[in-house]
């Protein structure tokens, strides 16, 4: 009633002013500061009133300004609003900036909030930052873009899910990927492929369709997601049409990618010399020889040529956006075709999106977001996916292990093979390699995965009363993944089986339905309330089946449908889980000065044990906008500091990333020959309950010079209790997988986050704006299962990580070494007692280990044991990281310079152990410094043929551990926007061309290709979390760099 009266008064006053006041008509054009294009649909409002208009299709507006009014406010989604004082009758305005400024709206779960009202910790990245990036999935482009967000690209395989962590690693055994919510729907994450070509379903969201990404970090902002909030929540909002002229945009780029910093290997001559020397030192006859070609030259094979290439990629997007008064739409199509630096690694995606919103009446609104994607990935066996580090067919490994003095092809063009391995060429058969010929594998094997991914939501809302709205939202994520694998019969893994074809398909289905009743309003003048209650159900099922056929009937067959001798089932998957949740949220502020908010959620999950299925989660926060206080406004400091706000939050959230049936004792029916065999298959735990995190956050936001510089600082601490561990059991108990899931263990993460957003220079046509983010993370494990027994993190056949109470999760764990004994050229190890022990493979087994010094010098020492003699060599998780993103603009030219940095951790460069192995394996050139004469000081021991211990293959050793500090020139781009007058064709409203380089320079002391590496990735598939073994670089294919040339066109 009151409102209606108010409106009436306003209306009347406008009438009156029309009639009696002196007024001015102001006209002008609003353009984009970046490229000068007119902006249609910009809201132009007389400051302090609700009176306003919009710019037309040409960006022009006309408004009548009553007497006494001196300013107009211009606002437009995606741009920083400006209030401009009116002088004269023509006013041209340039709008700039890209959204994410204080005052914008952020999406916090089931509702939205104005950025300035937020009291939790939320990092926001605008979709603009993801545009034009040569990535497969959006999160790959988030590196260095927001505080508290760590994205580690595990290696160079396309569409391999990155290790994406918010505020550290927040679980040991459970999934640690943040919850990804797209337009209200939690979508599938993690590698979904069953073969060597990974499939990250987040690649099925077109980065160009993303309007904004809000990363909820602390308990107050995540608690509304309750049991799924422990790893942070990433809320993605896709684009919508805005009123005004229909906008059509085309974005496209072409690019090339190539390798960098590959280890330099021995050539054929160096190889033969070194390996024969090793033979001699082992008391064996010379066995290596150079192979002469028919033309008299010496064969020298660079195996990198067979593994890597220069990839060529292209990407095209076209979108249409617009709105009438009642309906808005955004429609886009995208196509990407990317070639990796690894041969036969190709990623293709066709994607379409339609977002529609329609107001049926003033009170009823319906809408849909509909996204369908077909993505196809092909990759050879790279040995770079979780658990693959030691695959003999892994291309990353083959490229460095294969002898340079054997050929890929025989003189007649046939493959050089011998049984399952490559032929030994001029070498003796006694040193024949056991690895397959990389050329055969790349050419003849085939591994693909193909996603058909539907992500769709449908909502309806009804405004029951002013401010009171009911909303129902139904979401669907249907993901079908088809994995195809073929191992050829000529060489490699398929050889013994005479060809193996393995196909599988997995159907993952999820529906999610939530209903909310929300109230948004003001009581009196000063009390703003925003509250909702809701109920949600979610159901997920995963069904997969496939088969493996082997023994091809005819050699030409290389597809599953051909004729084979045998077939057995493969890739069988069956899982199902459901959530049922009740939640509520309240945000309140008084005069925009004092803020409190709280949320509560009760979640039930099918995977937990009977009686423990439900958990209660919640969080609360408070904030004080000091700059809104009169004493502040009246003080001199307000001229400098335009905004000052402090805030704090705490809360309890959970982690729901456990396997579907984790709590149950299970028996699995199998076959003993042809008879049924029912075997104990999983030790359950009826006491299994929620793994919970208690999160604390304190923060400060300061805006200087009217928002030109914004500074944010946060302290966070996350105490994780009741960690669900796959608690290791003594293998002698015979428990399946030697582990039982249990709530044992605790851990914390804490750190600081700082970000500075600033417009450093704005002078005439030149602007320089930058975003600097810096985050720290300290992780400590405080309790573990089985009386704090250590947990070991395997990387395939090797264990170089340990999780121990008092240390950081997954710390690097190796046997300490102390260089090379100058007298004997033997590697010196330090055993558990601190004694120095030297090792020579040339001695008989019983006397290979000898004491180096002391009373026992020269006496036989017990053999070094990786577990008993191993020591923690450093933490594996970066303790600091961040980014420095710069945008420069001068007239029509723009430049982006993005730097990321990370460090404080150690990386185990296991590949180096292989690069110095003294079997037939090729070595890196550093081996040329090997010890040869007594007294020589070097860190490379005497070479002894067959020795896999002195340099680290048999045991992880400390000399292969290096600092992981790095600084990367992640992105550099130069763009030019054609002035409108120069646009070549009618109908074009903007044209920008650019050149860009990604991953151009790495500054690091790390000797391997890239210290940003994790061969274990997220690795939850094999039952072992990748969190237990981070920062391991073992036989993986490294990441490359990409150069792109692109075009952005607006019609």
């Amino acid at each position: 009633m009151k409102r209606i009266l108010q409106s009436l008064m306003l209306f009347m006053s406008i009438l009156l002013s029309q009639a009696f006041a002196q007024e001015r008509v102001i006209t002008g054009t609003v353009t984009d500061q970046a490229d000068g294009t007119p902006l249609p649909g910009v809201s132009v409002v007389i400051k302090g009133t609700k009176t306003g208009t919009q710019t037309n299709a040409d960006g022009k507006f006309s408004i009548t300004l009553p007497r006494g009014q001196e300013s107009l406010t211009f606002s437009y989604i995606g741009y920083t609003a400006q209030t401009v004082a009116v002088k004269g009758s023509i006013l041209n305005v340039e709008l700039g900036g890209d959204a994410k400024q204080l005052g914008e709206v952020i999406v916090t779960g089931y509702g939205t909030q104005s950025r300035r009202d937020v009291t939790g910790s939320v990092a926001s990245v605008s979709g603009e930052k993801l545009r034009n990036q040569p990535v497969q999935s959006f999160e790959q482009a988030l590196q260095g873009k927001a505080t508290g967000v760590s994205v580690i690209q595990p290696n160079g395989v396309l569409n391999n899910p990155p290790v994406f962590r918010v505020r550290g690693f927040n679980s040991i055994s459970l999934g640690s990927y943040p919850l990804i919510v797209v337009d209200g729907l939690p979508v599938f994450t993690g590698d979904q492929s069953q073969t060597n070509a990974p499939s990250n379903p987040l690649g099925d969201i077109n980065p160009e369709d993303i309007q904004s990404i809000d990363i909820l970090k602390d308990a107050a902002s995540t608690a509304i997601y309750g049991s799924r909030a422990a790893n942070g929540v990433v809320v993605i909002t896709t684009k919508k049409g805005t009123q005004g002229k229909v906008k059509v945009n085309y974005d496209g780029w072409v690019g090339i990618s190539n390798t960098q910093r590959l280890p330099e290997l021995l050539n054929a001559e160096q190889y033969v010399t070194l390996k024969n020397e090793a033979r001699t030192n082992a008391g064996q006859s010379q066995a290596f020889a150079l192979q002469k070609l028919d033309d008299g030259s010496t064969l020298n094979t660079d195996w990198y040529d067979f593994a890597y290439r220069t990839g060529v990629s292209q990407n095209h997007n076209l979108n249409f956006a617009g709105a009438s008064s009642s309906t808005s739409y955004y429609i886009s199509v995208g196509y990407t075709d990317q070639q990796g630096i690894i041969r036969k690694n190709d990623y293709k995606r066709m994607i379409g999106r339609a977002n529609l919103d329609h107001n049926i009446t003033d009170k009823i609104k319906v809408g849909t977001n509909f996204n369908f994607s077909n993505s196809f990935n092909q990759a050879p066996s790279t040995g770079s996916l979780p658990g693959q580090a030691f695959n003999t067919g892994g291309l990353g490994r083959l490229a460095i292990v294969l002898p340079p003095n054997v050929a890929a092809y025989n003189a007649d063009g046939s493959y050089n093979v011998s049984g399952s391995a490559i032929g030994y060429g001029a070498n003796s058969s006694a040193v024949a390699p056991s690895y397959p010929n990389a050329a055969v594998l790349v050419n003849e094997d085939k591994f693909t995965s193909e996603n058909n991914n539907l992500i769709a939501t449908l909502y309806g809302q009804y405004e029951i009363l002013k401010g009171l709205t009911f909303k129902t939202n139904y979401g669907l994520n249907n993901l079908n993944v088809e994995s195809i694998g073929f191992n050829n019969r000529i060489n490699g893994d398929g050889y013994a089986s005479n060809g193996i074809s393995t196909n599988g398909t997995v159907k993952s289905k999820r529906w999610d339905w939530f209903n909310t009743l929300s109230y948004n309003g003001t009581i009196g003048k000063d009390h703003s309330i925003n509250a909702y209650v809701g109920y949600e159900e979610q159901h997920t099922s995963v069904d997969g089946w496939g088969a493996q056929r082997s023994n091809v009937i005819d050699p030409f067959i290389d597809v599953f449908q051909g004729s084979y001798g045998t077939i057995v089932p493969a890739n069988l998957v069956q899982g199902e889980n459901s959530f049922r949740s009740f939640f509520t949220n309240l945000n309140y502020d008084y005069k925009k000065r004092y803020f409190i908010s709280g949320s509560f959620r009760r979640d039930g999950l099918s995977a937990l044990a009977e009686g423990n299925k439900y958990g209660n989660f919640g969080g609360a926060s408070a904030g004080w906008a000091i700059s809104e206080e009169n004493f502040f406004k009246n003080s001199g400091i307000s001229k400098l500091v335009s905004m000052l706000k402090i805030r704090g939050s705490f809360g309890k959230v959970g982690n729901a990333g456990l396997s579907d049936f984790a709590a149950l004792y299970l028996y699995n029916p199998g076959l003993y020959g042809t008879s049924a065999a029912l075997a104990f298959n999983q030790a359950g735990n009826p006491n299994l309950k929620w793994e919970t995190s208690k999160k604390y956050d304190g923060g400060l936001t300061i805006g200087f010079l009217d928002g030109r510089i914004n500074f944010d600082a946060d302290y966070y601490r996350n105490n994780i209790d009741g960690l669900i561990l796959n608690s290791p059991q003594s293998p002698s108990k015979g428990i399946p997988n030697n582990s039982i899931a249990a709530n044992i263990g605790s851990m914390y993460n804490q750190g600081f986050e700082f970000s500075v957003n600033s417009t450093n220079i704005r002078k005439g046509s030149f602007t320089w704006s930058s975003t600097l983010s810096f985050s720290t993370n300290k992780n400590r494990v405080t309790a573990l299962a089985n009386n704090n027994a250590d947990l070991f993190g395997p990387s395939g056949l090797e264990t170089a990580n340990i999780t121990r109470v008092g240390y950081s999760l997954g710390s690097i764990f190796t046997v300490p070494t102390a260089g090379v004994d100058p007298a004997t050229g033997e590697r010196i190890f330090i055993n558990r007692n601190g004694d120095k022990v030297r090792f020579s493979f040339a001695r008989p087994t019983a006397s290979r280990w000898l004491y180096l010094e002391g009373a026992n010098a020269g006496a036989v020492a017990p053999a070094i044991d990786a577990t008993l003699d191993g020591k923690i060599t450093g933490n594996a998780i970066p303790t600091w990281y961040g980014g420095f993103d710069n945008n420069f603009r001068y007239k029509a030219f723009d430049m982006n310079l993005g730097i990321t940095f990370s460090g404080g951790n150690k990386v185990y460069y296991g590949t180096l152990a292989g690069l110095r192995d003294q079997r037939f394996w090729n070595n890196e050139v550093g081996m040329l410094d090997r010890w040869t004469t007594p007294g020589q000081v070097t860190d490379i021991p005497k070479v002894v043929y067959g020795d896999n211990t002195s340099n680290g293959s048999a045991l992880p050793e400390s000399q292969n551990v290096f600092s992981g500090d790095f600084l990367k020139l992640r992105n550099i781009a130069f763009g030019y926007s054609f002035p409108k007058s120069l646009l070549p064709a009618k109908g074009l409203s903007s044209v920008r061309v650019y050149a860009q380089a990604t991953n151009l320079v790495i500054i690091t002391k790390y000797p391997g290709p890239d210290p940003e590496v994790s061969v274990n990735g997220n690795a939850t598939a094999s039952g072992n979390s990748g969190n237990l073994a981070p920062s391991v670089d073992r036989n993986a294919t490294p990441s490359g760099r990409v150069f792109t040339f692109g075009l952005n066109v607006g019609f």
Partner: protein, 484 residues
């Protein structure tokens, strides 16, 4: 005021419309009760007699794991000996076992330990479960199943300590062996258990086998235990303990006094007429005392298969190990490599690129040769050796001839080979190497007598005093069992 009432109405009507949506939308009470569709809850495992029998089979399946008696155990036991040379330097297929370079982290040390104890726990769970569910099967069946579980447990412990413990004869079993687990393990309790001594383990093995002998069925298809299997296994156990008189006593229960040697009771065990019949065809003929069945759907698994390791590429193998042609390797025996040899076992030699390979196991991928664990020829040779050592040279010679003449009927051992007990022992040992080549006996026959391992190829000789003589305890056990 009027306004207010309208509002109230709207709220009431709105709430009534919305309320159902806030109730449990799925309307299914069991929305959060989801069980797997491919696995059974433990409570149902003893629900029917068929499931109980199915569990018995799973105990054998534990033995049959490719990491254990389904392939790798036999391979490790042979490649530690002098018969084979590693061809591919592949750390995953036994290189470090072959060259005595394993440590507690080596995959074979870790995996075999775990596989053996998985089988042991299944046996223990079955024994416990039959007591806890007395009506799940008839009393007779319960006795039989318990006996089978004990047989399997004894076999698993016996094979385990051949690799992870010092030989009994080194110090009469005084050395520490492995943890002796006799109760089924389901929970997170009981991680810590000390190692029992070698003697204690042998005592338990014999107790289990004696109890099994009493309750096992007299006859059975030899993919499951029967009375003769328990007796046959005892001949191996007593041989390991150097208790030759008991070897004779046990063997006599299933070996007739004179040729043709046959078991008088139970399965009619006797030698097949042709050795080729043992490795082709049914696999469960008269000579098989215990064989582990393999099928396409119940195969040994990747890189675990005997044929994969030994057979030539043309036979579907991966040529991982070839014959050591040096004089101390068995291949140099004229029976295998002699140009004029008529020995049928020469038929188990294949050639590929100048190297010689064992082709006894023939089935290509997925390698479905049944894996022999106990066969009658072994019992005869165990008895032959024990007979010599207990003074019965005549019977020993007859047993030796029975094995040799099956493969080479015309062969006559020279006097030099058989004239004295000492030479006869060597000949019997050689015959065992010929007969059971690739079946996992070589390391056992070396270590049980505390003999050194001879050098072969690039692999060193290993004295019985060397730490490398036996395997270390698995790293997983070291990490989690604080009472070791």
């Amino acid at each position: 005021m009027k306004m207010k009432k309208n509002n109230l109405n709207k709220i009431v009507i709105g709430s009534i419309a919305i309320l159902p949506l806030f109730m449990e939308m799925s309307c299914k009470k069991d929305f959060l009760d989801i069980t797997p569709k491919t696995q059974l809850a433990q409570a149902d495992a003893f629900a029917t007699p068929a499931r109980v029998e199915s569990q018995v089979n799973s105990v054998y399946n534990g033995l049959k794991s490719g990491q254990f008696l389904g392939g790798r155990y036999q391979i490790y036991m042979d490649i530690r000996g002098e018969e084979f040379i590693n061809n591919l330097s592949n750390g995953v297929t036994g290189l470090d076992t072959w060259r005595f370079n394993v440590n507690s982290n080596t995959n074979e040390v870790v995996n075999l330990w775990s596989a053996a104890y998985t089988a042991i726990n299944r046996a223990n769970l079955l024994i416990d479960g039959l007591v806890a569910n007395p009506n799940s099967v008839s009393a007779d069946l319960a006795k039989q199943y318990t006996a089978e579980a004990k047989f399997c447990r004894a076999l698993a412990y016996f094979e385990l300590i051949q690799l992870y413990a010092k030989p009994f004869l080194a110090d009469n079993g005084a050395s520490p062996a492995v943890p002796l687990r006799l109760k089924g393990e389901l929970t997170a309790e009981n991680n810590d258990l000390k190692r029992s001594t070698v003697a204690e383990i042998y005592t338990q093995i014999l107790k289990d086998l004696n109890e099994a002998e009493a309750d096992l069925p007299l006859t059975a298809i030899p993919t499951r235990a029967h009375r003769n299997a328990a007796i046959a296994l005892k001949t191996r156990v007593y041989l390991a303990q150097g208790n030759y008189a008991q070897v004779v006593t046990e063997a006599n229960k299933i070996v007739s006094a004179a040729a043709p040697f046959t078991a008088a009771t139970g399965n009619i065990n006797t030698l097949e007429a042709k050795i080729s019949a043992v490795f082709e065809g049914s696999y469960v003929g008269s000579e098989a005392i215990l064989s582990l069945p393999m099928t396409d759907l119940s195969a040994p698994g990747t890189q675990n298969q005997l044929a994969y390791y030994y057979n030539v590429a043309a036979g579907g193998g991966n040529e991982e190990y070839y014959f050591n042609t040096a004089a101390n390797g068995i291949y140099s025996n004229p029976a295998l490599s002699g140009a004029t040899s008529l020995d049928a076992r020469k038929g188990f030699v294949g050639i590929s690129k100048t190297k010689f390979f064992l082709t006894k196991f023939k089935k290509p991928s997925p390698y479905t040769d049944y894996v022999p664990v106990i066969r009658y020829a072994e019992v005869l040779l165990n008895l032959a050796e024990a007979s010599v050592r207990t003074g019965d040279v005549v019977r020993a010679t007859a047993l030796l001839n029975a094995v040799r003449h099956r493969s080479d009927p015309a062969y006559t051992f020279s006097a030099a080979e058989t004239s004295t007990p000492a030479t006869l022992l060597i000949t019997i040992s050689t015959e065992k190497r010929l007969e059971l080549l690739g079946e996992g006996f070589r390391s056992f026959d070396i270590t049980r007598l505390n003999l050194p391992f001879p050098a072969k190829g690039a692999a060193p000789a290993v004295e019985s005093t060397s730490p490398a003589y036996i395997w270390p305890i698995s790293s997983g056990e070291i990490q989690n069992n604080k009472s070791l």
